[in-house]
């Protein structure tokens, strides 16, 4: 099969949210020794961006988006393993975000939705899951050096943990290295300002727009 056809098939499997085909075409790309960075950028990322846009425009629905994200994950894992074997680095043009739901809160959906949309926008996403202790956030910031740290809290009782993470980052001397975004049912703009976060978003789409703006401002800072 021609490389361009393979890449088209990969792109379509992402757009269709077809997990089985995404896996099949990714494995075939390896068999045929296709150019992997090209397959990632022109197949997977191009596909997921289209999906993200279609979701943003209300043309597709959440289950479509999530299945596309699953298809994306299975294909990118295959490619990433291969690149690792050959000692190559994965080149991503976007930003990096570490995200999680704070300690004392096991709510997953909102945070996962934000993760998925960030992936769709080309970000590398490190999702720490739910009920994440402060120390784990600090360790992840140290290890992954993300542009953005996203802290979710649905419960009012766990909202205070967002402040604890920010204070701990300060204490560890890491606060200036990362932009902090907060969100979740219990969170308001006012709270975000009170605890010294850099940004607050009321929903997943706004979170990604806001993340992109933060990334732009950071890249501006780096250039300056």
């Amino acid at each position: 099969m021609q490389t361009s056809d393979l890449i088209n098939n990969l792109e379509h499997s992402i757009i269709e949210g077809d997990v089985d085909n995404a896996e099949k075409w990714a494995l075939q790309a390896l068999d045929e020794k296709a150019d992997i960075p090209q397959a990632i950028n022109n197949g997977l990322i191009k596909g997921i961006k289209q999906v993200g846009d279609a979701f943003g425009n209300g043309e597709i629905f959440l289950p479509d988006l999530i299945l596309s994200s699953e298809a994306m994950k299975i294909a990118s894992d295959i490619f990433e393993n291969e690149l690792r074997k050959t000692g190559q680095n994965i080149q991503t043009s976007g930003g990096k975000i570490v995200i999680g739901t704070v300690k004392g809160d096991i709510h997953d959906i909102g945070k996962t939705l934000v993760s998925t949309l960030f992936k769709g926008a080309g970000f590398t996403v490190i999702d720490l899951g739910v009920d994440v202790p402060t120390d784990d956030f600090i360790a992840a910031v140290r290890r992954h050096q993300p542009h953005i740290l996203g802290l979710s809290s649905l419960l009012t009782t766990s909202a205070i943990e967002q402040k604890n993470v920010i204070d701990a980052l300060d204490h560890a001397g890491l606060r200036s290295q990362v932009k902090i975004m907060v969100g979740g049912g219990a969170i308001t703009e006012q709270w975000s300002q009170e605890i010294g976060a850099d940004a607050y978003s009321g929903d997943a789409r706004e979170a990604v727009d806001c993340g992109c703006r933060l990334l732009d401002s950071l890249q501006g800072e780096y250039h300056a």
Partner: protein, 485 residues
Amino acid sequence: MHNKVRFPLQVLSDDDIKSIYVAALEILVDVGIQFEDERVLHILEERGCTVDYPRMRVKFIPSVIEQALRSCPSEFTVKARNPEYSLLFDGSHVYFAAHSAPTVCDPKTGLSHKPSSRDVQDRLILIDALEHINATLTLTGEVSDKPPEVGVEWVKAETFRRTAKVTTAPAFRNSPKWIIEMAAVVGSQVIGCCGCSPPLFYAKQDTDAMLQYAAAGHPVTAGSGIALGGTGPVTLAGSLAQQTAETLAGVALVQSCHPGTGMLWLTETAPMDMRIGDLAWGSIEVGMLHAAQGQMSRFLGLQNFSLFPMSSSHISDQQLGFEKGMQAIIMALSGIQFMAGGGGVYNESSICLEQLIIDNDIYGMAARFLEGFEVNADTLALDIIREIGLQRNSYLSHKHTRRMFKQEHFFPGVSNRLAFETWEKSGSKDIVARAQERIPHIIQKHESAPLSPEAERELDTILRAVEKERLSGTQTEHLTEQSTA
């Protein structure tokens, strides 16, 4: 409110009800429920359930569920500080309650802020004063001018001080033990608001609270808030099966430890809007699920409890009005016994005092419907019709009209029924503006029945103990400075 609707809404056939119950039992038996607290695992193992300790999973046996359902009382009373406000859960009463949320918002802009202690107090005075509000939720407790660590207890103490109506009590942190002490001081019961975090998971916080409230003789809720397509099946039937299983697991735990505890099936379930991923709390499916929940709870012999009617709108607009109004009437007709959406906006994220005033009218109208109307010689008014015959305009001056109109017709507090010119001359105000005007009027005029000085002192003592526990002696001045205002 005594519910005189003879045939509650039915969306399920008898076979449907049985299929959902059987599916729920299969979930409990085959999939099981995860409990975070090891103590709970031991309790249920002793009852004969199979426990997988590493996965904290309990696979139930049907006899435990059936036994638990048998030991639930078919009726019970929740005692209020003022006995006149006590609630009787016997399947034939419907109660309306005020919602609670982390923020208070403006009805026209939707902009919200953390409540101040004054906001909390104003809300409680309104609840005590409004005639169709029978009870209030106390779910959250962060107050802008109080330390967040002790907010829940401060709000709870204020609740006991400012309203003699029944209140619910949350499962947060170590709050139950303090709330139980406060309830004993003021001589009332609370409804312990506890539940499952779907899918199929009971956090330790919730099971701790359930058992603590039940041990102290308070009724408790069991149930869940499933996001259809998120934390449970996207289908209404599937979500009902899962929610039935989650509820029955909680009922089994509580009845195993404290048989005879009054239990309410709580629901907070709503579809996820697949266009945005947020919950559609104002959706018509919520009404359909409540009708089904009403049928399922009657079948199981459980009382029920709901955090609706609710809406996804951020402001007191037409959407909020029609979503909450439709749900309220559907729920009332479905035999939902406790509906706690009063004042809530935007998927329970915020409270709006103006909306509480408007919801009081919605509740009043639903209550009027439930009250029904009598058919007897006096109400058929045949004598009057004979007497007046074909004379025009004579009914208004008849004594029968004056004697009967108040019992027959409901008078909303803030709905507009004025002629156009009169309405225009009075400032062309919409319902929100009229509700806004009513608030200071009620707050200035209403006098909540005070607690005895001894009870006030004991509440202060409890708050000081909470502070000591949580704040290690710091910031003590915040909590007790204004027990009366």
